[in-house]
């Protein structure tokens, strides 16, 4: 078989043809930054991250110290009042964001790594392997939102690693679908066929030829899944299966102080506003990215 020498990459330069495309996701980032919603979302997200990371250093008390009577109203001593055990609400809000960020981001990374791997393999292999992977992922898809995590919590108890893993797993089907669709499109192009023709190993083709060329849709998907991870992790803490007492955690705080919603609304409202601001900011970024990717075409971006 004669191979056009033009198509054969030089030794050690396997990724050569796709090198200029590698920064596709950077392009998307730059264009997304031009949109106001992305800027607003990023500033909000960064502020909340700063609070979660460094808030503890300016907190007036420690998160587990009893500072007053339970459900005290806000005062100069405790600006947001005290919780059901008499701990300072402001302090616990300042401490309680870190777990949301760490767990949410970990779950998203796990879901993305596994989802992208499966999607790449399915999109490149096609036929039986493709069918098998996608059908198995359909099964995961059938468990709505936090139900899959709850099934496993009922067996192994509320372990953090389990929650993170199950939230990650429940993202896999959708991430794999997006990856697969993008992969199928890229695989049909010449440079991938050329690499395959000269015997580049399949793993290298997927990592160095296909992956860089589908980075934009994956970036968008990562942003979207991060929003849902935070929502799911907060929801699991809220129903009592995430962070366990006496930890300071926004979701758990809402759960613990629910009964005070009539007498001392701040105890519940403060963590509610933090979670709400966080998920809205993450979604603004995700929305900005997806608009940037489709070329700011509003109609298709809304679909």
């Amino acid at each position: 078989m004669n191979i056009d020498p033009e198509l054969v990459p030089a030794e050690g330069a396997v990724s050569g043809p796709s090198a200029p495309r590698r920064r596709e996701w950077v392009q998307t980032l730059v264009e997304a930054w031009g949109l106001r919603r992305t800027k607003v979302g990023t500033v909000m997200f960064a502020l909340l991250l700063l609070i979660a990371l460094f808030g503890r250093f300016v907190a007036p008390y420690t998160p587990t110290e009893f500072v007053g009577r339970p459900f005290s109203d806000p005062s100069t001593a405790y600006w947001l009042g005290t919780d059901f055990l008499g701990r300072d609400v402001l302090t616990r809000v300042l401490y309680g964001g870190l777990s949301v960020f760490v767990l949410g981001i970990s779950a998203t990374v796990i879901g993305t790594v596994f989802g992208v791997s499966l999607g790449l393999v399915a999109g490149y292999a096609r036929r039986v392997v493709d069918e098998a992977i996608m059908r198995v992922l359909d099964v995961v898809l059938a468990f709505p939102s936090v139900v899959l995590a709850m099934l496993f919590v009922s067996i192994l108890g509320p372990r953090l690693w389990l929650i993170v893993l199950m939230v990650g797993v429940s993202h896999m089907p959708r991430i794999a679908r997006v990856t697969r669709a993008a992969t199928v499109e890229v695989v049909a192009r010449d440079f991938v066929r050329a690499a395959a023709a000269v015997g580049v190993p399949r793993r290298k083709i997927l990592l160095y030829e296909v992956l860089p060329n589908i980075s934009s849709p994956l970036l968008v998907e990562f942003g979207l899944r991060l929003t849902y991870s935070i929502i799911m992790i907060a929801a699991l803490s809220f129903i009592g299966f995430g962070m366990q007492p006496p930890a300071a955690d926004w979701g758990l705080m809402i759960n613990e102080n629910r009964i005070a919603i009539i007498t001392q609304p701040w105890v519940v409202l403060a963590p509610v506003l933090m979670i709400g601001a966080l998920t809205i900011s993450a979604n603004l970024i995700a929305d900005g990215l997806s608009r940037a990717m489709v070329g700011i075409d509003r109609d298709t971006a809304q679909a």
Partner: protein, 322 residues
Amino acid sequence: MPPLLKILFMRLGLGVLTLLLVSVVVFAATQALPGDAAKAILGKDSADTERYEALRKQLRLDRPLVEQYASWLGGVVRGDLGKSLVGAGANVTDLIGKRVVNSAILVLFAALVSIPISILLGSLSAIWRDSKFDNVVNIANLSLASLPEFVIGIIMVLVFATAVFKWLPSVSNVNSLMPLSGQMTLFVLPVITLALAVVPYVSRMLRASTVEVLESEYVMMARLKGVSEPRVLWHHALPNAIVPTIQVIAINIAWLAGGIVTVEYLFTFPGVGAGLVDAVANRDMPVVQALVLLMAAIYVLLNLMADIVTILISPRLRTGLR
């Protein structure tokens, strides 16, 4: 076989296969239990080997896994979901029966409220594209879609039940002994919360598909023929725009089956969601299995129905040209 029938049968087969695999996952999950159900029931008494062995035999835990799965699945199909591990060990079917009815009513109300609102908002923002109305709806949708349902619910409680107004009850302990009509106020906040969580997705989809239809050639043709604008909208554009939205509506109602978990828990509404939280907290495996299987089955069946309806009404698939 005609191509349409073939597509329908394949889709049906796929749905059944997914359901079977879901049941395998739900069954297999319990096998990860440290110890087994007999140990869980006896608790500290499981040191009593004789009783432990007898219970194992009674629960058929001494049989091979495949046989256990087959008899469990057979029971599920006949409506026998086993006995609860908590309290007096009532039949799971009796335990969850009322909860299923309550949740079904809740989801039905939520769908009845959210679908017309979504259609209205979606089509109006498509007609008045890029207007102030469109922008406001867009931003409201984006914000609502990013909020967890329980956050929306708590804000509803603060506004309508406690801190601002005291119009509605903040707890929805629906009682099956009293007539439903006397307890309608208990449904208001959970229904609004669920509806607010669904409207953004459906109305955004409807807006997108309406925009597409409004720019199509046949709508332009109708306008050129002098058909009045309202008639263009109601007779030509909207019916076609709703078709691609059917799937999104189905997915969202299916999502409600899982999304009710946090909302029911928040309002202490006696439905399957709050029941699942209780069962998980008590590690009452038969109830967990039954409820998880039910929620997953609803999701699979609604998706199946949406796909079949889409196949039946889209001409391209009807004629078998894929």
